[in-house]
């Protein structure tokens, strides 16, 4: 194990997060089995009271977990010099079998946590808490994910050995690589570039329509999700090589480094914020509960404003980097 303050912080935070969500998950199981608001039994009233306590615990756990994705990526990047062959976060993450799975689980956890927080925010604004059951059903997904995340982080950081020879990002994203990420790397710019802008533009347009007329909210949410996948593919396929000005350097993690102007620390937060807020806006726009008739559209609009601003800034930043690049592919 390599004792890094950030790694220890991640282990502590993920363990606390897993403990909190595991307890909440167990409660969710009991609650979903016995919930009956038509009955004023002692057991039902005890459940009702405990939902407030458990929800607070979950909010704290999730707020703790949201910045973990950025900290984990940063830590992996900062640890690269410890491993022979590692040039960026990819090398650190490949130093054992648990790094990349931990990242994927964290990624899924990030968006699920954001969705839960949106549901919770809405639920607490309705006098009859109309989203209570949906919230607790989602907890049944979040709790195992948090446990898996903590376990993977312990396995990953616990299993790191400084003498390990690992592979650099070229082995994952280079011409000789295999797998989905290699397929993305090989995607021609002539396809990836228009695809990126063709997805981003209608996403922003749907967001603008929703903000102006209150329509297409759910469509905007779905497009924000699709845009995220296309944007990640575009970063690997054509955007990263333009930043590095090297046609075969497709790594999405080297963008986080100083020699590339920390471009990733500008782009990824915008993309993640825009996507999470866009998905949240779509989710809120789809809520039809009578007690949330005013609050759901209000929250959806607030989230859509954040999403449109973040995704527009993301698109502008990408365009700026492309315009500045000297690479001709």
């Amino acid at each position: 194990m390599i004792f890094q303050p950030a790694a220890l912080a991640l282990l502590l935070a993920s363990s606390l997060n897993a403990l909190g969500l595991a307890a909440a998950g167990l409660f969710a199981l009991r609650m979903l089995r016995h919930w009956n608001p038509d009955v004023g039994s002692e057991a039902q009233i005890a459940l009702e009271r405990r939902t407030h306590l458990v929800s607070t615990l979950v909010v704290l756990s999730l707020l703790l977990s949201l910045p973990m994705l950025a900290l984990f990526t940063h830590t992996a990047d900062a640890m690269a010099p410890f491993f022979a062959g590692a040039m960026c976060a990819v090398g650190s993450l490949q130093a054992n079998a648990w790094g990349l799975p931990a990242l994927w689980v964290m990624l899924a956890g990030f968006f699920l946590a954001a969705a839960w927080l949106v549901l919770h925010r809405l639920d607490t604004r309705g006098w009859d808490q109309p989203l209570l059951l949906a919230k607790y059903r989602l907890l049944l997904l979040l709790a195992p994910l948090a446990l898996a995340q903590a376990a993977l982080l312990w396995l990953y950081f616990g299993g790191l050995k400084a003498e390990v020879i690992t592979s650099c990002c070229g082995s994952l994203f280079g011409p000789a690589a295999t797998g989905a990420q290699a397929e993305l790397s090989a995607l021609p710019e002539a396809i990836a570039r228009p695809l990126f802008f063709v997805t981003l533009t209608p996403t922003l347009a749907a967001g603008a329509v929703f903000l102006a007329r209150g329509r297409l909210g759910r469509v905007f949410g779905m497009l924000a999700g699709l845009n995220f996948l296309v944007a990640l593919a575009a970063i690997v396929a054509f955007f990263a090589p333009h930043i590095y000005e090297q046609p075969h350097h497709h790594c999405p993690f080297c963008l986080l480094q100083a020699e590339h102007g920390y471009a990733g620390w500008l782009l990824y937060p915008l993309l993640f914020l825009g996507t999470a807020a866009g998905l949240g806006a779509g989710l809120a726009a789809g809520v039809r509960a009578a007690s949330l008739q005013a609050e759901a559209p209000r929250l959806a609009a607030a989230l859509a404003r954040i999403a449109v601003a973040a995704l527009a800034a993301f698109g502008a930043a990408v365009s700026f980097y492309l315009w500045r690049s000297n690479l001709v592919m």
Binding site: P37, G40, E42, I45, R49, H52, T124, W127, Q129
Partner: protein, 239 residues
């Protein structure tokens, strides 16, 4: 208007000092009428009043206000509902020392966000109505018992609630002051407000004010008398 279904309240459940203050109470309180909860000390009157007004949550059962279950309401909604629907008159007045009578009366209206001038005007009018207009600037610790209770009634009315819950409103007052308070409460009834009064003071039941009496003992409802059909049993008032 207000309906209680199988309501119970247990303090310190599961402990050695577990206490069942209210047990299996089911009743309905009609709008625009005066209902009195009668019973000796420890019979559960104050707890029941707290349950009706959302000050206390039941351990079992449901409390419904105009068909809506308020016993499971999240705290933010319950607070708003308490503020808008119920005016509370407490046995010990619960006025805030060192504040003026006027400030005490205005206080429950401050969180509503209404303009300060409007609140002040209404508070002064209410103080006039209960005969305390001249004492508006006085600090509450300078008030007599009767004045303090009248200030508490004015405070209960500041948000114009349709329901007034009064807990032993005449407990610390002599007969003359008690009659003054009962006259103010009768005036509120005439103006269409719903009143629920917890009391074991015979004076309360001698007047025409009370229309319905619910007798309590050991946290249970013993009998429910309608004034028009059943004569008052004053012996039940003795603690």
């Amino acid at each position: 208007m207000i309906e209680l279904v199988g309501v119970g309240k247990t303090f310190n459940p599961g402990r050695d000092n577990e206490f069942h203050a209210v047990r299996e109470v089911s009743l309905s309180i009609e709008a625009g009428r005066v209902t009195a909860l009668r019973g000796p000390s420890g019979s559960g009157k104050t707890t029941l009043l707290g349950l009706i007004g959302g000050l206390t949550r039941p351990s079992v059962g449901r409390v419904r206000l105009q068909g809506r279950d308020i016993s499971a309401l999240p705290e933010r909604f319950l607070t708003a509902l308490r503020r808008d629907t119920f005016g509370f008159v407490f046995q010990q007045f619960q006025l805030i020392r060192d504040l003026s009578v006027l400030d005490n009366v205005m206080l429950p209206a401050v969180p509503t966000g209404r303009p300060h001038a409007d609140i002040r005007t209404r508070a002064l009018r209410l103080l006039d109505e209960v005969g305390l207009g001249r004492r508006a600037a006085a600090r509450v610790q300078w008030l007599s018992g009767g004045e303090a209770q009248r200030a508490a009634i004015a405070r209960a009315l500041i948000n114009d609630p349709p329901v007034i819950l009064a807990d032993e409103p005449t407990a610390h007052l002599d007969n003359v002051l008690s009659r003054q308070i009962l006259e103010i409460l009768a005036d509120l009834r005439r103006r269409g407000r719903t009143l629920v009064i917890a009391s074991h003071d015979p004076l309360v039941f001698e007047t025409d004010l009370v229309e319905r009496v619910i007798d309590l003992r050991d946290g249970r409802v013993l009998t429910v008398h309608d004034r028009s059909t059943v004569p008052m049993d004053k012996s039940a008032c003795r603690p």
